[in-house]
Symmetry: D2
Subunit: 301 residues, 4 copies
């Protein structure tokens, strides 16, 4: 369980304190607020706060005085238009604040998205918990044979058992030593900021992470993608489910134009036009490299 009884009580208490507000409120998001959705073995994602809704996107695009909603169908059409033509600023007018618990190696990928605000739990100041990510058997994947940064099938048998044993034993031993090094019983006790360096990258950390909807969707496009590492993708997928309830029009447009869409090069567009005229186009006469052609063919399949 990622949460202690006390932590759950604190969250529950917040969920019971409804107050009136004049602000734009998204009912779909209120239903998610504060709830910690489990991810991986000890992690979670929970919404701590949000600003705006689908109407707020339109309101900003129109720089309007009232809610800006002329009609619901108008709003969806406008949002699709904005997404299709890469107008990013109206989407920046919505904001989300998440509390995330995640392994350090996932946090290191996540933080590359720089246009966001972050407050991480400090291992200089505080003591980390004994919580480590140990992959479930089906997530214990072999190195891909064809892709240097991909995965193959799950490991099996002795190999899987040995890997799990090492990951578990090394984590536990590292934490035992961490505790013993910082202990002040009968000794000075190593500084926390030093002791933490003994902990492996599967140890869990936590942070508050706040970003706007435009940058969030960019994050989701990259991290909910098939090519993303499984351990960050499960966080992205959980966030996708939340965003779909928060700003349903924007999320549907995102699914159509970004997640399910694809960018074609000038060369690829030219090939397409030839193919639609009935010409036989092959990699050899396409003007594309083998890698590009493979990706192109897969797209049209």
């Amino acid at each position: 369980m990622p949460l202690s009884r006390d932590q759950q009580d604190e969250i529950e208490a917040l969920r019971n304190q409804s107050v009136p507000t004049l602000r734009a409120t998204a009912p779909g998001m209120e239903a998610h607020l504060y709830t910690a959705y489990p991810v991986l073995d000890h992690g979670f994602v929970r919404v701590v706060d949000y600003m705006g809704d689908d109407a707020a996107i339109c309101q900003a695009a129109r720089v309007s005085y009232g809610r800006g909603t002329k009609s619901v169908s108008n709003d969806e059409g406008l949002i699709r238009y904005l997404m299709r033509h890469w107008h990013s600023t109206p989407f920046e007018m919505c904001e989300i604040k998440l509390h995330v618990k995640l392994p350090v190696f996932v946090a290191r990928q996540w933080i590359r998205h720089r246009t966001a605000n972050v407050n991480e739990y400090s291992a200089r100041y505080s003591i980390l918990d004994r919580e480590f990510y140990i992959p479930a058997p089906d997530a214990l994947a072999a190195q891909s044979q064809v892709n240097n940064q991909g995965r193959g099938a799950a490991l099996a048998g002795d190999e899987a058992a040995r890997v799990l044993r090492w990951l578990t034993e090394d984590s536990m031993r590292a934490y035992d030593h961490y505790e013993e090094m910082i202990s002040t019983e009968g000794q000075q006790g190593l500084a926390r900021e030093l002791a933490r360096m003994n902990l492996p990258a599967n140890v869990y950390t936590q942070w508050y992470w706040k970003t706007d909807l435009h940058n969030l969707l960019h994050f989701l496009r990259l991290r909910a993608d098939d090519h993303a590492q499984y351990e960050i993708r499960v966080y992205a997928e959980e966030i996708c489910r939340i965003v779909a309830d928060w700003v349903p029009f924007a999320y549907r447009a995102f699914e159509d134009y970004r997640m399910g869409g694809a960018t074609l090069s000038a060369t690829a567009l030219d090939c397409l036009r030839r193919m639609l005229k009935g010409e036989e186009v092959t990699q050899e006469n396409s003007g594309m490299s083998k890698g590009e052609w493979r990706e192109f063919a897969r797209l049209l399949d």
Copy 2:
């Protein structure tokens, strides 16, 4: 009047739609929400949305599960500590969205603050209103004799009258021509994106502007300062009044450590230590240039 009857009605309608929310809510801010506070002759500032309150700053600093408030006095102490030691990330966890109507030359200063989200009314797409900033008599200042980017006393008599007449007449004529150029009655009509170039920099524009509390305070420190141009300072001062009600602890710490504070150089600190020991320190033996010494002396006066 900066607002039409219709616009006021739209705003009024929003102020009557209170809904329940689970989010952190700042009562002081709810009282300001949507109200358009007049600034200059046709401008205004109004809060369209906000995220967070004083407690949210502490909650993020502590990466806590519940509201994070241990006690109100604890919270103020923590916020003062964070401000004093330049911890910026917890303040980034609050966000504000403003609708501002302002002259173009003010907008051009404002936009230099890049860490913000902006949607401006489009003069490519839409037609600007006949609204121009004409300074009140006491804001019609002479060029400073001592400071290339400062102001002296207000102009008087014939000179003042002539300046006001030119500003008014040139604005009106420019707008007349703007209207006539884009008119399609009996002619093709010039493209809006071209016609707007005839309008002077005192024409009003509007935008939605969203930023986090840390960047907002940085903006206010520079723009509510005595050295800021009067026409942007009045906007900043109006926003200061709003922020003081939104996050009272953070705003008080800001007043003490930023607005009312000052940064002293190593040289200045050294002079201070000598002065406190009773030594007579003058510009000549201070190690400072005349300009630095003048600023230093004014600070201690």
Copy 3:
């Protein structure tokens, strides 16, 4: 002429001061350095400094010790791969610094690209020159009948003449009054920071603008596009010519994947697959709105 004799001499002097460096140097860029390429009637673009070249992109992508160039063909292949898969960080490792002279209404569009560093000529501190953009006859376009933010054909006859006369006369009168208001002969003289507000948006300003290659290419994609306003597009096109000589591999990949490419939605990809199988797809059975279908059909034509 955008440059005075003195300014040209200053630039010439710099072009004669070659010094040795150990840094990555792009010969194609050295040939452009400092030269002010004219744009519009009084504007220009000139490169003041740059960092990196095609090899530097690869070097960063490989985090290598030496230049990182294994072979030239390898480098181009890697750059195309990075561009195709939206890897932005290696392109951020090149930087460019431009000096641009441009009308204020163009500057206001330009500045929306926030990830850049800017130093603009200060009209609070200094006096602006009597230079205004007056469109050439073929750039004096009518408002588009079909697109609220587009242009139609050039104005003609009396209408064109009247527009040109107004633009010219209003600019000159505004500048006359600007000069007379700030004059201190026999009067106090209005503060510069106020007097500038009388100048229309076609007055020229200047700035130093510095950005990285990734953000520059994003700027060029939007501003060298057919839908961009003509007056900013000519700046973007001039910069395109420079970039093509600076980082030829990156620029070619940019032309193929960005400028000449297009993003298709999931719905559009699905239509394509159906069309390639021989199915008759129309707007009605496409799942697209009329606007989307029009854009889609134009792409394949």
Copy 4:
């Protein structure tokens, strides 16, 4: 040794390839270019590229056509003025690109500075080296008794020996298992992106890191400070030495106004004025908390 023979040869080769350039060149920086300065036991910092010099700061501040240097003393005065009055944009006109090898726990602090460009060595794609930070005996500090995020004296005797043994043994064992898990001899081999999670935070990584001078100085102010963790401070100090040779005027101003300076609150300034008038000011009548007063007293001592 942080560098292999081959890596040193690659670097040496670059240091022998001087080419002519028209760009602003800083002789003090050319002398540092490419050289890998050792930091900690396996780390280093080396300058890969730079843009601009002291004169470039002035050139941008003046938006000038030539080098912008009127006289060297003028330049230093202007730079001091800009630094004193928090004008940040001219300093943003210089840029630096570093190659840094550093332990992961240091990288995690470093990356919090978001206004920078980063390309990190990919442990998804590549295999990390067997290099771990093991503190020198005098850096093996105890937890501070008074400051939750500080250090006390160095550990001694058995305790020190035990900590060093654990850090070393746990690192080596983790790396042994890492190697065995990714091995494909007689087994499938675990995906690299998973195997890396077994490595502790003292393992070394590397990145290219590029930022502008303004943001670099902000980084140095925080990380070369006494309160920074020793392991990041030694990197910051090495960079300080490089910057002092690159932009000597800017660096001297930085030392005086930032590193050696201090920000006083309105309350503290008021106390100072009272003290200078001869009044006895104590914590009790100062209006400051005990913590603030302690910091204030230390400053004036």
